[in-house]
Symmetry: C2
């Protein structure tokens, strides 16, 4: 029997009616003769409510406890969906991350999947059951519960699709695919029929509402990921191996702009370490301990100066700022730097496109569009298929709109 | 280091402030040099909310799924209490039923504990940690989550106290001990300083807000159980091996009334199977399948009649009525009985006391009190230390008040 992995986000299972709707959708697939493993996120805002609850009892909740607490959100939605499937006459079974064999490392709050032991899932599938798996969570060798971080259910779904060798992974959410920009910000944004893993990874890393690690996993295991709405049957977006390669030669030769979309990540914070001694090993001395503390550093800029010292600036998620500052203050003393300053309420706007690397002029065009819009650029960073500018958060939406228009993404292909 | 097991009910952990209060209480015990294992129930009404949620997606939620769903309530309170303890500077760790090694049979919704594997708890205690265990839940050999039934956290606590050989088990709740009757119904009810396991078992079986199985376990393993309020330091009630035996001889000879308390169980339903053939094996043919379906039958009364058939009446919890009726309807046909009728909105009022069995006249006194109060008795059942009458639920509170006064329980000992 063919097998598909579905993933339903929090907004798709936000209440009883929506859960029953999801059950109907899964039921139709199962009845058509395809086995289904469904991965679910926690209902609506319930994860945020659990986080608030934790902060109401503790100034700094212990990460291990936070993980066990947050894992309950997915258990609730997972059992409810299973009950709804039973009510439709299906044999269905809910599995916790542990029961589904999702083994992770011990990095609470941002655990990574080591391996998936599919024995229990295979057994349930072989007995004709629909398997409903609690997303976002796993278990360590020491049998402690871990979570994979915000949006981790996407990664659960792709990991299960890879481990079970399912035909594809379908991510159902409250938007009907991947757009050239956030449609709430840019009303004329266009939906993409398909997109390559690499471009999608850049979009996800820079603001699109998907877990970047799920895209990475999809690329490594070549799992096609289909993103669509759980509320209607509008065709969605297929994320798969470089779609450009499959396009007819003429299209490649059109020499038109190859930008795929505009992404925007809010809640960016910037830390600058001043007067760092200008000698080898300083960057490593700074960033290794941060990485070991589990703090993800994004953009890094180093400005040389004249007095044999240098300033190093970098961005982190606003959520990590307090932890990062505590660590950096310590490191500043250790490496003999002059001091540190931080800035919050920044955003990263990015122009992403797989055709960009072969054609000059994208960066200058981006800067021109922002300059014409009087948006000040704080930092710049580029990859082969992305150019990002750090700007003030309050100007981010306008910047996305300007760039979407500036790169003619509103014009049909 | 001496060890104590605490259990905190839902009302004691109903919100952040109450959880912090519980953390302070545990903290004081730990600081005094006694190790603590704390068992917690779900916050306030959260179990009821989860049940409502289940019924909003499914007409008859699958028991396996219901168990996994309900188990999350205790995980939430358990992690929150652990966070609050960490904030007070303690090393604390939360354990799920599974992590705490609570192995049960597979009777979802009313699982019984087979054994407790204390290895993980012992390890955490040896490292000086306060161990916080999610009550009410366990795990089967097949690694499915089970729950122990309403009030099961009491049983978890006593089982852990027995397995860990703790000095005693302290049950903290929103009342400050065991009373001669429910103080909300009988304002002049008196708190008992101590009570024997057997009497407490009868009180618990017939309405006192404790899990009867916890008392059974306490009696078997001789774990002293102390019941007190988590909101104040008023002395509570100690449940232990026959306290009467320890009383001075004079007290035994006082020939005063030996009734300990009046219990009342609401939500009782009665099923009568009519015209059952009057031959051997009929009761077994009826009650064995009910037991196998996990339906607890309480009072059973068989009325012989003249035409070689008999009526068999019995009571079940109102919650089990639908399931029981479905089963009984089937059995009625199988055994060739005449039919069945059911009645709901009944209550069982009981007079309980360890001295009763040696002294005649308690039953007749009970019936007289009820008769004087114009309370009609539907069924009667007795044990060595209890007399129960099934009456209409709407008359139950008045009956409890009448009996409390009638047996002079309002007079100081």
């Amino acid at each position: 029997m063919p097998l598909v992995v579905h993933k339903y986000g929090g907004s798709s299972v936000a209440d009883a009616e929506k859960i029953k709707n999801v059950a109907s959708r899964i039921s139709a697939v199962q009845k058509s003769g395809t086995g289904v493993v469904a991965v679910v996120s926690a209902m609506g805002d319930s994860t945020d409510e659990l986080i608030d609850l934790a902060h109401s009892v503790s100034g700094q909740p212990h990460p291990r406890e936070m993980d066990l607490l947050l894992s309950t959100g997915e258990l609730v939605s997972c059992t409810l969906l299973t009950m709804a499937l039973s009510d439709l006459g299906h044999e269905a079974v809910s599995l916790t991350g542990s029961q589904a064999g999702i083994h992770t490392d011990t990095s609470h709050g941002r655990a990574r999947i080591d391996r998936v032991d599919t024995a229990r899932m295979q057994k349930e599938l072989a007995e004709g059951r629909i398997v409903v798996v609690a997303g976002f969570q796993g278990i360590t060798e020491g049998e402690d519960i871990t979570t994979l971080g915000r949006g981790g259910s996407d990664t659960t779904a792709v990991a299960l699709a890879a481990a079970l060798e399912a035909g594809r992974c379908e991510i159902y959410t409250d938007v009907d695919g991947i757009y050239t920009a956030d449609p709430r910000v840019v009303p004329e944004a266009r939906k993409l029929d398909e997109i390559g893993y690499e471009e999608m990874l850049e979009l996800a890393n820079y603001g699109a509402k998907m877990h970047p690690r799920s895209i990475e996993l999809g690329a490594v295991y070549q799992v096609p990921i289909y993103v669509a709405s759980s509320f209607n049957d509008t065709p969605g977006t297929l994320i798969h191996g470089n779609p450009d390669e499959k396009q007819p030669e003429e299209k490649q030769m059109e020499n038109r702009i190859k930008v795929t979309g505009i992404a925007c990540a809010n809640n960016v914070a910037k830390i600058t370490v001043r007067s760092v001694p200008d000698k080898p090993g300083m960057a490593a001395a700074l960033f290794e301990p941060l990485a070991q503390s589990g703090i993800s550093v994004d953009t890094i800029v180093q400005n040389t100066s004249e007095d044999r010292t240098t300033d190093i600036s970098f961005t982190v998620s606003g959520d990590d700022l307090t932890a990062a500052l505590a660590k950096v203050e310590e490191l500043t003393r250790e490496i003999g730097a002059g001091g540190m300053v931080s800035e919050t309420n920044l955003a990263a706007v990015s122009v992403v496109g797989s055709g960009m690397q072969n054609t000059p002029g994208y960066a200058s065009r981006m800067f021109r569009v922002l300059a014409d819009g009087k948006v000040n650029i704080d930092m710049i960073t580029t990859s082969e298929i992305r150019i990002s500018c750090i700007i003030r958060e309050e100007e981010a939406q306008e910047a996305v709109r300007l760039l979407h228009r500036g790169f003619q993404l509103d014009e049909p292909e």
